[in-house]
């Protein structure tokens, strides 16, 4: 079973949310980037990213993985997400690598790890449940 976006012929939909988040693909097919902008700040005093922005990055990355698995004409919809904030974030780009945990007939479970400076120093991880229909 395919467990990543490796080799996927997949294009990220250009939506207002994608543009707001500044969410894009990277040279690595299974890694996404959020290009930092001041509007992503949650704590102005320490210039940390907003927890909800990190959460949105987790959710959108998991959705992109699931969209790559979907058949033409199928839709995907996030059911739930659980996010652990592991380290303090700062005002630089955020990266995310989603991976498939299990693909069922109607539900897909995905895990996402996020980092800034180094993938060895993750700032957040998330588990997402996504409906495919």
């Amino acid at each position: 079973m395919k467990n990543s976006l490796e080799g996927a012929a997949f294009k990220i939909p250009d939506t207002p949310m994608r543009r707001w988040l500044q969410f894009d693909a990277t040279e690595q097919p299974d890694v996404f980037r959020m290009t930092f902008d001041d509007r992503h700040i949650g704590n102005p005093f320490i210039r940390a990213l907003h927890g909800g922005v990190v959460g949105s990055m987790v959710e959108m990355s998991a959705e992109m993985l699931v969209r790559s698995l979907a058949q033409p004409g199928q839709s995907v919809e996030l059911v739930s997400s659980a996010i652990d904030y592991i380290r303090v974030t700062k005002d630089v780009d955020l990266f995310a690598r989603p991976a498939l945990v299990r693909q069922g007939r109607r539900l897909v479970f995905a895990e996402v790890w996020c980092w800034q400076d180094s993938e060895e120093l993750p700032v957040a991880r998330g588990n997402c449940t996504i409906r495919i229909f």
Binding site: T15, P16, M17, N43, P44, A48, Y85, D117, L121
Partner: protein
């Protein structure tokens, strides 16, 4: 004492400040009753995921719930101190639609040591339909500098 001299609730100050979130979501303080903070907002166009239907991305609910749960923590503290989200779990039932009038309610569940435990809902302001629910854990008195260290 005039109305302008009445001390504002800490959560009201938080939501009326120049927080970066106010540049893209106008969140209006409604009130606090029995440890439940309520704010009002409209689903902004910047978060639309499906331009045909006007549905906004689930990330809006995640972002608003994190903000309002955190704001409600501020409102429960005796003195303002930095807080950080440690964990956030969100369930999504229906996407909001661009321009939809929403309420977000955050309930203070309790503080144990330096961790505040919260729950919340995002609702349609007219019908009360629940769009999303969340539980969140926040650490109180976090570092004042981004040292990149573990919490």
């Amino acid at each position: 004492m005039t109305a302008s001299e009445i001390p504002k609730h800490p959560a009201e100050i938080f939501f009326s400040s120049n927080h970066p979130i106010s540049s893209y979501v106008s969140v209006r303080f409604v009130g606090v009753e029995d440890h439940v903070l309520t704010v009002a907002l409209e689903a902004p166009g910047a978060f639309v995921e499906n331009e045909a239907t006007g549905e906004v991305h689930s990330g809006l609910a995640t972002l608003i719930l994190d903000t309002v749960l955190g704001g409600a923590v501020m409102g429960e503290m005796e003195k303002i101190q930095p807080i950080a989200t440690v964990g956030l779990t969100t369930q999504h039932m229906r996407r909001a639609v661009k321009g939809e009038a929403l309420l977000c309610k955050a309930r203070f569940e309790g503080i144990h040591h330096d961790m505040a435990h919260m729950s919340g809902k995002l609702l349609n302001a007219e019908t009360g339909e629940t769009l999303s629910t969340a539980t969140g854990t926040f650490m109180l008195g976090t570092r004042s500098k981004p040292l990149g260290a573990r919490l």
